[in-house]
Amino acid sequence: MDDYSRPFFRAIAVTSLLVTATALYLLKGDIMNALEVLLTDPLAITATGLFRALVFPGLLFISVVPLMAEWVERKFVARVQVRVGPLYVGGPEGLLQPVADMFKLLFKEIIIPKNADRPIFLMAPVFAFVLGALPTIVIPYSPSMVIWNYGYGVLLFFAILAFFPLDVLLAAWSSNNKYSFIGGLRALYQQASYEIPIFLSALPAVMLAGSFRLADIAQAQSKVWFVFLAPVSAAVFFVSMLAEMERIPFDMPEADSELVSGWTTEYSGMAWGLYQFSIYVKMLAFAGIFVVFFLGGWTGPPVLPAVAWSLVKVSVVILVLLSTRAFWPRIRIDQLIRAGWGRLIPLAILNILLLVLFQHYLPGVVG
């Protein structure tokens, strides 16, 4: 390691040690409890909070799903475009390609451009990663499989969501590049414009369930899924989701052919890797909340356990989200903003009005 990178490494390593020590200190009771459960009744470990935070809806799950999603995306898009996609790494069909990519990124140099605002430039990807993964804390995969069964989960989800434009602007401004800055501004306009449709199209789910708790919203769909009661809202939510994630029909902020790669232009190595990771984790969070709002969460015929239903639905939604990359061209920024304000918001309002008009008939349908 040369003298130039040593201070960065030292600062980051010391911070991570401090954070780890704090986490361990907070968790000392839970770790002892989990060990005790593991020794007496290994199957009961799934009921402990530590398991949820570390393994299933938590850390391990949200680390594995992005890797799988990346492989599925590359393979799927390749098949649509009559290519073979990843083929060689890790057994059949290049299954371990994303893992290989991750290790490759670990060994790559993080280049800090000239005159960049170094602390912000280096910390923005970490914030993006934390912000992208944090919404998954409120998403239930079964009545008990949720890290924090928060009474205002919907509001917490949208509150965390609102931080993204800030992080994008920080990254764009600190990397001292014109492409980054233009991309960052586009991302700001896009995410600000599509936050309103996403709020207004989430409103029918809250209205029908009468609760901000995501578990209650999923439980209220035991008779009819909300996608049948509020189909327009579901469509608006889906489109806004794509725009918030900067997926392909709405990927002007990182348009490869015009803006190099938008606000991530100057990022390389693991810094870029964290950004990619945050995008896919955000996709998981959005797919989870779409399933809870409109596709009934864990409810379904009792042929499968509740968690399996959730996972099947989330996988289907993620696959549909990924497939847009293969099928759609990019649209212009002014078309995007015009569509968001002129079409999606009136449509979301229309669905709310319909629900108000048919309010009398609804209580019998909502479980």
Binding site: A13, M270, L362
Partner: protein, 121 residues
């Protein structure tokens, strides 16, 4: 505290775990990856050209009117959430004012889109 449930503690823990993951990945990368400085490498990317002029350009205010509109709509939509929470409790008469509010939302959008078209956005 009833509304927080027993999991409010896990919010802090989860936040710290995520921070740890990100920072550990970063520090491993810093420890393993080679770092060789060179003036050409650290030049900001501009498709192979030498970047001219200052890089921190002024804000492009083309779409600023939409950001202003966003500030209004953000508040209004959050207020609508407060109504939607008790949608069935109020009944049709109680929904009259929020519905009126929704109708008031349409003219600003129309005007903004019109102005934007005149400005050429």
């Amino acid at each position: 505290m009833a509304v927080l449930g027993d999991g409010s503690f896990w919010f802090l823990v989860y936040l710290l775990l995520l921070l740890t993951t990100g920072l550990v990945l970063y520090s491993v990368s810093f420890a393993l990856a080679p770092r060789v400085r060179s003036p050409l490498k650290e030049e900001t990317f501009e498709s192979g050209q030498i970047p001219p002029g200052g890089k921190r350009v002024r804000l492009v205010m083309q779409y600023f009117i939409f950001l202003l509109l966003f500030m209004i709509f953000d508040v209004v939509s959050m207020l609508l959430f407060a109504w939607g929470y008790a949608f069935f409790d109020y009944g049709p008469a109680g929904s009259a004012y929020p519905v009126l509010l929704l109708f008031f939302l349409v003219p600003p959008i129309y005007l903004t889109l019109k102005v934007a078209r005149q400005v050429g956005v």
